[in-house]
């Protein structure tokens, strides 16, 4: 067609075979266009799926979003533990090597205050892809790094959000609260027991990223937000906790002891108002402690002791409730008494003929306690002991509670003589929290309450969940409780001087001076001095357990623990505005 028109015009200047050659040029163009078309069909239709999948794998990135750990507040609203989100600086030396190393080092030294050799050592090896350059970045440092990276001055860095747990109270309530390790897992106390509730659930974000790891704004972005952890409100009152810790420290100094426990409990509902142990640990300086450290253990729930004479209240309650004795039951109390081949003696080894049960408590007579237990019989005695919660965990919401050791009738290691020893609190191992709750039975009219450390959970969404107090079982009748409290009151007031009695408040309680069992017998001259009591007598609201281990000046509960009990009662009752006794 072209050649025919060329002929028609017959232009002398037309190059030879012009039309045909134009067709050749056009054909060449068509071949190239066809080659492009063939490729396009191949890549965009036939292999499009595979290529798109490869591109997607290349770009897709899944990143975890840490959830925020909930705070732990005291009953009065003070933060005992809280989490702060901070950044740590991660470097990829292999990528940093592509930048001006000198500028990068200068930036890090001048902005973060790192010293030059450290920086060089950390980013100097370009074969590494991941190194932690700084652990705790101040927020202004984080933003300086972000801006410098955005401007392209430095590269190969990444900010990794990490949570730091802060314990404003340091030592205060450390055993109650526990701590969180570097991986965000709680250990001991509340932090361990409520780890799941506090942790929440981490989220993740799936996004498309460019080769430098930056999110592509128009790419896939699929975030699953984290569920932050709940905030826990303790039953612990910060002021009461402080009183307990101060008095405990003062007592240890005064009586030359290195360890002890003070528990302050509301016997009506089992609320732990204060839980103090020494030695304790400083939750703000965990780096100073070995990973496994005795100081982390909470003796109030995780260590056992022979309660000694305080246990006589349980024996007496059982005898009264079963009806085998009454307050006026009289008995000759020998100074030394042989029971199933073993000799048991009172503390002064004196005979007390024709004594009533109040006198048994007042003199803290071991042989009197044996009389009551023997009158009950082993079967009934151990039924009551179990009912009081011994040999079983109290179920307190703190980590690592132990059950104690109760050898009862029927167990292989039990001897009939154990009944006598058990009646006054020897050859039985209990935790302080078990003893406190058992006394709580007497204080609250006969109910064994489950102790609790957390009273309220506030979820991240703001839902408030009140944790109801729960009773485990009725142990003694209310009348037994009233009778026993009256007996304890009379017994306390027949002892002079009684260092446990407050001038302002009417309390009842019992001293204990326990021998310390060890392999091969009893440790000589070493005791655990304790006092457990509660008040006000008419309407007990506060129960205090004082336990001082191995006091070096004075061995007796009545000398060591009683005055501490009184100190605690005076301060706590005043703080709680409990009216003074008439």
């Amino acid at each position: 067609m072209l050649s025919s028109s060329q002929n028609r015009r017959n232009d002398a200047s037309t190059p030879p075979r012009f039309g045909r050659r134009l067709l050749v040029v056009g054909g060449l163009g068509a071949v190239m266009a066809g080659a492009v078309g063939e490729r396009l069909v191949r890549w965009q239709v036939l292999e499009a799926g595979d290529l798109a999948a490869t591109a997607s794998v290349q770009q897709r990135n899944e990143q975890m979003i840490a959830s925020r750990r909930g705070a732990i507040l005291s009953r009065d609203g003070t933060a005992m533990a809280l989490s702060r989100q901070i950044d740590r600086l991660i470097g990829s030396p292999n990528v940093i090597a592509e930048y001006d190393t000198e500028a990068v080092v200068n930036f890090l030294t001048s902005n973060l205050g790192l010293d030059r050799p450290t920086v060089l050592e950390k980013i100097g090896d370009p074969s590494l892809t991941y190194t932690v350059i700084a652990d705790d970045l101040e927020p202004e440092h984080s933003s300086a790094i972000r801006q410098a990276m955005r401007r392209g001055e430095i590269g190969g860095f990444r900010l990794e959000p990490v949570a730091r747990r802060i314990y404003p109270g340091n030592y205060l309530g450390s055993h109650l609260i526990g701590f969180v390790d570097g991986f965000g897992t709680g250990h001991y106390g509340i932090e361990s027991f409520y780890n799941e509730e506090l942790s929440g659930r981490p989220g993740r974000v799936i996004s498309d990223q460019d080769p430098r790891g930056r999110t592509i704004p128009v790419g896939k972005y699929d975030p699953l937000p984290p569920v932050n952890g709940s905030t826990l409100v303790l039953t612990m009152d910060r002021t009461i906790q402080r009183i307990a810790e101060q008095e405990l420290e003062a007592a240890l100094a005064r009586f030359g002891s290195s360890s002890g426990t003070i528990l302050v409990i509301d016997p009506r509902n089992g609320d732990v108002l204060g839980l103090a142990n020494r030695p304790a640990f400083n939750a703000s300086r965990l780096q100073d402690y070995a990973v496994i450290n005795e100081d982390f253990i909470n003796p109030a729930v995780s260590l056992v002791y022979d309660p000694g004479s305080t246990f006589k209240i349980m024996t007496m309650a059982a005898g009264l409730d079963a009806g085998v004795i009454g307050p006026g039951t009289r008995h000759n109390l020998p100074g030394v008494y042989e029971y199933w081949g073993l000799e048991f003696s009172n503390w002064d080894e004196k005979n007390y003929p024709n004594q009533d049960m109040i006198s048994v408590l007042a003199n803290s007579s071991n042989t009197g306690a044996i009389f009551v237990a023997d009158s009950l019989g082993a079967h009934n005695f151990y039924d009551y002991v179990r009912a009081f919660g011994f040999g079983a965990a109290t179920g307190i919401d703190l980590a690592s509670e132990v059950r104690g050791i109760l050898k009862a009738q029927g167990s292989l290691s039990w001897y009939p003589s154990d009944l006598a020893a058990n009646s006054f609190g020897q050859s039985i191992s209990t935790t302080p929290i078990q003893m406190a709750m058992a006394f709580g039975v007497v204080a609250n009219g006969g109910l064994l309450m489950q102790p609790r450390a957390v009273g309220r959970v506030v979820t991240a969404e703001g839902h408030v969940i009140e944790i109801e107090s729960s009773e485990i079982r009725r142990v003694i009748r209310p009348s037994t409780s009233r009778t026993l409290i009256d007996m304890m009151y009379q017994a306390e007031h027949s002892v002079f001087p009684n260092l446990a009695l407050s001038d302002r408040y009417s309390t009842v309680g019992k001293t204990g001076t326990a021998e310390i069992s060890a392999r091969g017998g009893i440790l000589p001259e070493q005791t655990i001095a304790s006092y457990i009591g509660f008040g006000p007598r008419e309407n007990p609201q506060v129960l205090v357990l004082v336990k001082i281990d191995r006091p070096s000046t004075g061995t007796w509960g009545s000398r060591v623990a009683s005055p501490i009990f009184r100190q605690v009662v005076d301060r706590v009752f005043a703080y709680l505005r409990i009216p003074a006794a008439a």
Partner: protein, 381 residues
């Protein structure tokens, strides 16, 4: 192009009447650069993420250059192409001088291949001037020599005229442009009626030269091998080729939509210039890429039709050379992006962002429109 007020007398005569402009080329003159403005803005999105001001400046600059380019095309369309003929020697001389200047240390861009002249306003690529200069010169010269085009003497002079700038471009090095220049000048010579024997001679020399080069530099063979198996050589040129294919495949038939492509975020090399076709492929799919192929096919077909209708040999060769150069460069760019040719660094005419390339390409389209006008006036006569 040096023009004076005298040359713009057409304005007084009201020469800018639309019917006199080739309607098909007019559409291409507007549509292709507009596609470019839109897709370049999309391809520059990674800049937006870092620096919004720089993004705005780059998009605005490209839109401005495009507007200027379209205006230049419409203006040039009014200037009789025959006026350039005698002056094509001057243009050629300037082009050769600039190509030499680019090799002078201090005048050229500091690192990498010496392709650009750094002027204060826009970096300037002399090879973009060399391409039209050679077309003008050869076309004009073909018109002058007439039937003597088949003589050996003509062939040798032509070879020298093409050879000087070609070697200068090749040593920059810019082999892609060298190939385009070789292809375009060959086309002009071919349609001018040069002897096929002479082309075979050039072909033989080139094959020998290539074989010698590979024999001396075995790494060139490795590169070619890498090109043919992109998967094995992920960090070198093969990686870039691979990324283009991933972009095309991600787009599929319908594309992800304007702006929604992700491959331009540092995966594609030079997404707003050399790889802009891959961005089109990802965001507009096969529909977008095929449309672009068809537009360039139309450009070539229309250009060859104009060549056929042109009143003189100069116009015929000019139209064939210009249309082939623009279309061939587009197809070569597309074949690079689709992995059929090794990475060369050629922009996609009219679409890629870039000062000189865009304006020169549009100006050449303007010249083509003028040849078309002359052809239609001639046939009316």
């Amino acid at each position: 192009m040096a023009t004076s007020a005298r040359r713009f007398r057409f304005l007084e005569r009201g020469a800018l009447s639309w019917p006199e402009l080739d309607p098909l080329l007019l559409i291409l003159t507007v549509v292709l650069p507009l596609i470019g403005v839109v897709i370049v803005a999309s391809a520059l999105m990674p800049v937006l993420a870092d620096d919004a001001t720089a993004f705005g400046a780059a998009v605005l600059r490209n839109a401005l250059i495009t507007t200027v380019g379209i205006a230049v095309a419409l203006g040039v369309a009014q200037v009789d192409y025959r006026r350039y003929g005698p002056r094509s020697w001057l243009l050629y001389a300037i082009a050769v001088a600039l190509l030499i200047a680019v090799l002078v240390p201090g005048l050229a861009s500091s690192s990498g291949p010496r392709r650009w002249l750094d002027l204060s306003l826009l970096s300037f690529q002399p090879s973009e001037i060399a391409k039209p200069a050679l077309i003008f010169l050869l076309a004009y010269w073909a018109g002058r020599v007439g039937k003597r085009v088949r003589e050996r003497r003509t062939f040798i002079i032509g070879l020298a005229l093409v050879g000087i700038p070609l070697v200068l471009v090749a040593v920059e090095p810019d082999l892609g442009t060298a190939v385009v220049i070789l292809g375009t000048t060959s086309t002009v010579a071919f349609v001018a009626g040069a002897r096929l024997r002479h082309f075979l001679l050039i072909g033989a020399v080139l094959i020998f030269g290539f074989a010698a080069s590979v024999a001396r530099n075995p790494y060139q063979l490795t590169r070619i091998q890498a090109f043919f198996s992109p998967g094995d050589d992920l960090l070198d040129t093969g990686y870039q080729a691979q990324q283009s294919l991933l972009a095309l495949g991600s787009g599929g038939i319908a594309g992800k939509g304007l702006g929604m492509g992700t491959m331009k975020f540092l995966y594609l090399p030079a997404p707003h210039t050399d790889s802009v076709f891959a961005v089109i492929g990802e965001e507009f799919g096969l529909i977008g890429t095929a449309t672009l192929v068809i537009l360039f096919v139309i450009l070539l077909a229309r250009g060859l039709w104009i060549a056929h209708k042109a009143p003189d040999t100069y116009g015929r060769c000019l139209a064939a050379g210009i249309s082939f150069q623009l279309a061939a460069q587009a197809f070569i760019n597309m074949l690079v992006v689709t992995g059929r040719l090794p990475v060369t660094g050629l922009p996609l005419p009219f679409v890629s962002s870039g000062g000189t390339s865009l304006i020169v390409s549009l100006a050449m389209l303007g010249v083509l429109m003028n040849v078309s006008r002359a052809a239609s006036l001639d046939s009316e006569r």
